[in-house]
Amino acid sequence: MTIEELEQIAKNVKQENEKYDYEINVCMDLACASQGADKLKDALVKAAEAGAKKVLVRRTGCMGPCSHGPLVRVDPEERLYRRVNASHAEAIVKSLGGAPVPELQCDLDEHFDKQVRVVLENAGYIDPEKIDDYIARDGYKALLIVLTEMTPSGVIHRITESGLRGRGGGGYPTGLKWGTVAKAAGDVKYVVCNGDEGDPGAFMDRSVMEGDPHRVIEGMAIAAYAVGASKGFIYVRAEYPVAVSRLTTALREARRHGLLGNNICNTPFNFDVEIRLGAGAFVCGEETALIASIEGRRGTPKPRPPYPASSGLWGKPTLINNVETYANIAPIVRNGGKWFFNMGSERSKGTKVFALTGKIANTGLVEVPMGIKLREIIEEIGGGVPGGHTFKAVQTGGPSGGCIPADMLDVGVSYDALLKMGSIMGSGGMIVMDDTSCMVNVARFFIEFCMTESCGKCIPCRAGTAQMFTLLTRICDGTGTMADLALLEDLCSTVKETSLCGLGQTAPNPVLSTLKYFRNEYIEHIVHKRCPAGVCQMEAVKSESEVVA
C-alpha cells in the first residue's frame, strides 16, 4: 500500500458515492439499536429500492444525542431526524428533495454548535465495517505519512508539541510517555490499547471502538513506529461484544490492505495487533493489573516503579494508552501538533469526549474543547435538567471522581480544575443528578462499587472500603452517629494515602467530595434521621421507634 493507492481507494469511494443522489445515514450504535434501528435500516433500504431516486442507506456509529434516538441523517442536506422507526421509512424516502418530514424534525443546533469534533469526526459518517469508508475520510493517511516521511523521534516530537495528555484519566503527557518507551533498552517492545472502560457511566471508548475502529488501530500503529514496537494488544471488556467483533473485522481488513503485517507500505516496519478480552474487573483499567490480565493472570496491580514503560508485558518496555488517546493521534499527525495545541485551555489541550447521562435532557456523547464551562456542557449542550427538577450535582470521573455542586459550574473543564474541585477528569463520564438524588446514597453506591471491585491485594483498599461501606450504610439507614462521620473521614484519608494502586487511592473521592459540598445532607441523615431527597428509607429508625411504641 502506498499513498497513491490509498488516494485511489478514497477516489473510488467518492466516485461510487457520487452515483447516489442522497445518503441516508442510520445510527446503529447500542442506544439506537436498542430502539429498533436495525429494523428501521431494513425498512429504509426497502423503501429506497422502491423509490425512483438513487439512495445510499448507510449504517453508522454513534451520532451523539442518544436520547433522541433512533437517529437518521439525510445528506447532502444534513437533515437530522429523531425518534425514527420503521414506519417512517417511506415518508423519509418520499421527502427527499422536498420539505423535511415535519414530525421527525429536531432542533438540536444548540447541542451541536459548541461541539468540536476531532475524535468523533467520523462518527455518523462512515460504516464501521468498511475500511474504504474510513480511507475516504483521510484514514491511514497519517500512518503512511509517518512511515514514509517521518522519523520515530519526529513523530514523538509532534505528539509532544501537541500537548496531548492521556485520556484514560490520569492525564499524563502522551509525548513524554512515548519518549520514555522509545528510549527504553530492548529489542522487543509492546504497544497496548486500554479498552477496559470500567467506569460505569462512561461509554465513549465503546463508541469509538464500535463506530470508528480503524482510527484506534491507526493510532496504535503510529505509536508502535514511534516507540519501536512490532506487536500490539487491544484489551477490550468482554461486556462489549460488538466492539470486539468490529475490531476483529477491522484488523482483518487492515491486514488485507497491507496496513498491518510485515513490511507495511514497503518499509521495514512490521506491526500486528491482537485482541485480548477482559473479564469484568474494574481494577484491570490500572496499567499493571491490565498487564497481569493480558498475561493470563489475576488482575492484581504491582507497585510502581518499575513503570510499564521500562518493564511491562513479559518484562518488556510497554506503552499503554487509552482508546481515546490513540484516536487523537491520526488527526494530530495529519494537521500538525500546533493545530491541536491551539485548541483547549492552558494546560489541557485539544478536545475531550464526554458521556453525558443521568437527569439531563440530551443524553449521549459530546465532544467539546477543553476549558469549556461545565455550565455550557450541562445547560446548553445537554439541554438542562428535565421535568421541572433542579440541578444538584454533576459526577465526573466515575468511582474515582467526585460530585461537583451547582455553584462551581462556571469553572472551565480541565484536568487541573477538576482535580482542584476534588474530582478528576477520569475517562469522561458525566452523570447529572437532580434534587431527587441523595448524595450520601450516591457516595455509598460508589464505595460499594470500589469494595466489590477491590482486588484484595492491599489492606487499606480491601478492608478500608468495606468499613467505609458499613459506615455509609449506617448513615443511610438512619443509625449513623457523628462519631461514625468522624471515623469515615479518618478512614478516607488513610485509604487515600496508603493504598497500592489508583483504585484505592481514589476510592474515597466520592465520599470526600460529597462531604465537602453536601455535608448538610450527611448531618440531616445523622441528626434528624431524614433524607432530604427522600431516597434513603431509614428502615432501622422506623423499626426502632416501633419497638418503643
Binding site: L30, A31, P200, E239, R276, R297, T357, K359, T363, F449
Partner: protein
C-alpha cells in the same frame, strides 16, 4: 524441559474441540488462560471443575492459578445459567435512574437474589456493572438483547412470558 503430552479431551462432546482450538491458536501458551476460559464459558455457559482442570493441564498452568483466575473475574461463572437470563445494569447512570428498584422488583417476583437462578432453572437474575448504554438508562438485557429506558412493568411482563413457556 520435557514436553508433557496434552491431556485427552474430557468427553466426546464436540465443544471440547472448540476449546482446544482456542488453545492451539495461541500455541498452548500460558497467557491464553483467560481467552480459553472465555471459550469454555461461551461454549458451555459456565466453568466447572472438569473444564478448569482440563484447561489448566493443557496450558501447564497450576490449578491454583486457573481457579484463581476463574473466581477473580466477575464475568466468569461457576454455576450453570438458567434457560433465560435477565441482566439489569447497575452502572451509575442506571442507578441514578432507579435500577435498584428494578432489581428489587425482579428479586421479589422470582423469589431469588441477584446472581441466582430460579430452582426450576428457568430464569437467572444478573446484575451488570455497566453495559455502556448509559444514555438510555435504566437498561436491562433480556437474553442478551438490550432494552433501553426499561420500566418495572416491562421486566415483570418479560418474566411472565418466560414462565408461561
Amino acid at each position: 524441559m520435557p514436553v508433557i503430552a496434552p491431556p485427552p479431551l474430557p468427553s466426546e462432546d464436540k465443544r471440547w474441540k472448540i476449546v482446544n482450538g482456542t488453545m492451539r491458536k495461541n500455541g498452548f501458551a500460558r497467557h491464553a488462560l483467560i481467552e480459553t476460559l472465555h471459550t469454555v464459558q461461551s461454549s458451555f455457559g459456565y466453568l466447572d471443575d472438569d473444564s478448569i482442570r482440563f484447561v489448566a493441564l493443557s496450558l501447564h498452568v497450576p490449578l491454583s492459578q486457573a481457579y484463581g483466575v476463574a473466581t477473580f473475574y466477575h464475568y466468569f461463572t461457576l454455576k450453570p445459567p438458567g434457560k433465560h437470563t435477565v441482566t439489569v445494569c447497575a452502572g451509575t447512570a442506571c442507578y441514578i435512574k432507579g435500577a435498584d428498584k428494578l432489581i428489587a422488583a425482579a428479586e421479589k417476583r422470582l423469589c431469588i437474589k441477584q446472581g441466582q437462578t430460579t430452582p426450576d432453572g428457568q430464569v437467572s437474575l444478573m446484575v451488570a456493572r455497566c453495559v455502556g448504554a448509559c444514555s438510555r438508562a435504566p437498561v436491562a438485557l433480556c437474553d442478551g438483547e438490550v432494552v433501553g429506558e426499561v420500566t418495572q412493568d416491562q421486566i415483570l411482563e418479560q418474566l411472565e412470558r418466560w414462565s408461561a413457556q
